[in-house]
């Protein structure tokens, strides 16, 4: 579901391993993977919360896949996937959603307009 933006990705990524706690503000151009704990503000293209992961604060991402827990406030501009072990508590906004049986949604849930597709400017060279 979530694009892998690991070592081969041109976009920067971050991995917070199990047992690691991080507080603060992060802007991640690629994928943020959280198996530990993160509290604070996170802006990323995609967010993957592992089974042992816990994320809370102001989270703003394009795509999210949740196997652990996410506190408020989560804004997913495109696709939100909550796996069977995942739980979202607090306020959550999404454009598209999928929740597996066993997944938890608690709090205020809101659908938002889908993110506008990125416009790519392509230069055209005449072949003559």
């Amino acid at each position: 579901m979530v694009e892998k933006t690991g070592e081969h990705s041109p976009e920067g990524a971050i991995f917070i391993g199990a047992g690691v706690e991080l507080k603060g503000e992060m802007t991640v151009p690629g994928c943020a993977t959280v198996d530990g704990r993160f509290e604070g503000a996170l802006n990323a293209k995609s967010l993957v919360v592992g089974q042992t992961g816990h994320v809370s604060g102001e989270i703003n991402v394009e795509i999210a896949e949740v196997r652990g827990t996410v506190g408020n406030n989560l804004v997913v501009r495109s696709r939100l996937v909550v796996r069977s072990s995942g739980a979202i508590t607090g306020s959550c906004s999404y454009s598209k959603i999928m929740v597996e049986e066993g997944g938890e949604l608690s709090g205020s849930i809101e659908k938002i307009a889908p993110a506008a597709p990125e416009q790519k400017i392509v230069s055209i060279q005449r072949g003559d």
Binding site: I97, M98, V99, E101, G103, L105, S106, S108, I109
Partner: protein, 153 residues
């Protein structure tokens, strides 16, 4: 003679949470084989609908109290739903207390929802205040279990 007027509709959230669906009268009558209701696309109901299984293709405003409720793609329910299993392919704007919720592709659920399990398929849309009922010692509980239910009938 089956008399549905003898069925007591739960008035409080904890009554719904602890409701004994195994002894739900419509499910017990003739083993539930004849207790179902289809509301067709051209039919609207205002009031209370009590049955074992409800298939809603039309519109219901009021209370739906059933073991299984399926709101079909053309269906719409506004009001209150107490059920064991709710499947949404159409539109629901209601206070919902149920055990299992399934929102299928194209289904729209806008609700104050208390549930045990939820599944949302791709293409389903949900919104509102959601709360999971946790099971303690075999009984479902929510933090505000003692609060009354606002019935929008």
């Amino acid at each position: 003679m089956y008399d549905c007027s003898l069925i007591t509709v739960p008035q409080h959230e904890d009554e719904v949470a602890e409701y004994d669906w195994e002894n739900f009268p419509p499910s017990m009558h003739r083993k539930g084989k004849t207790s179902f209701c289809i509301i067709d696309e051209c039919t609207g109901i205002e009031g209370k609908l009590i049955t074992r299984t409800a298939f809603v293709h039309g519109q219901v405003r009021g209370l739906v109290f059933a073991e299984h409720v399926t709101v079909e793609p053309t269906g719409r329910v506004d009001g209150v739903i107490f059920c064991r299993k709710l499947t949404v392919l159409g539109s629901v704007r209601a206070n919902v207390i149920c055990d299992n919720v399934l929102v299928r592709n194209g289904g729209r659920l806008s609700a104050a929802l208390k549930y045990r399990t939820i599944k949302i398929e791709p293409g389903g849309m949900v919104g509102g205040k959601f709360q999971r009922r946790v099971i303690i010692d075999g009984q479902a509980r929510t933090p505000a279990a003692s609060a009354g239910i606002q019935q929008a009938v």
